[in-house]
Symmetry: C2
Subunit: 136 residues, 2 copies
């Protein structure tokens, strides 16, 4: 079962935390294509949040192509699809990478340690569930 945890008052906004965790769950295969997510109000009640906050997170995930929403039915994990142009896609990766590496290097981790951490996480995230991902 898909579990979500959230910490209000953290450095990261609540709806962002939801986005991060859903992204990760989809990436690892913990949530498979077609799986239903908890309804807006149900998840809001679980996490003691306002339903608008949950809806905001879901809406962004739909915009990103991670989720599909069907009016009156619920929200579901979407079939993999590209929502950004090639340039925009690369631009977003570069920015994310730049932010991450600057942070890691500032924390005084060595390049070796960083590469190792990345590899470990990727292994951990992708070996848990088999996934078929065809990419150009």
């Amino acid at each position: 079962m898909f579990e979500l945890r959230v910490t209000p008052g953290g450095n990261r906004p609540i709806y962002r935390q939801i986005i991060d965790q859903v992204r990760q769950a989809v990436a690892t295969g913990e949530l498979a294509v077609g799986d239903a997510l908890p309804s807006v109000r149900q998840l809001a009640e679980e996490l003691v949040l306002n339903h608008n906050t949950v809806a905001k997170a879901y809406a962004e995930l739909v915009r990103e192509g991670v989720l599909d929403s069907r009016h009156g039915r619920g929200v579901f994990v979407a079939k993999r699809r590209r929502v950004y142009s090639a340039g925009e896609r690369k631009r977003r990766l570069d920015q994310a990478l730049n932010v991450f590496l600057s942070e890691a290097l500032t924390l005084d981790y060595t390049p070796q340690q960083i590469e190792e951490a990345v590899t470990n996480w990727l292994d951990q995230m992708t070996t848990s569930k088999a996934k078929d991902s065809e990419v150009d």
Copy 2:
């Protein structure tokens, strides 16, 4: 010479962009220990910003241990030092890594492509200038 570029109205706050770029410049060695940074007002004028915005970015970098500020003299690249406990340090790395990987995987990059991108950037960032970093 150390150059900075900033885009207002972007998804990332201006003072954050300054922080990111200074972090990166220090990490790559483009800015060496002891180097002076542009003064608060000078940089503010260059970037057409308020000096408070620059001061805010510098203040955070001082808090992180990246910069030293000497009253009446200026701000300088600090000698490497740890400002976080071991636990906090790891916690921050994990969060940064989680955010980055979720983003990259959502963008539909494969683990192989991600590892390659990380390696390339680290090479590019660290081969430009030699750095001595002793880590436990």
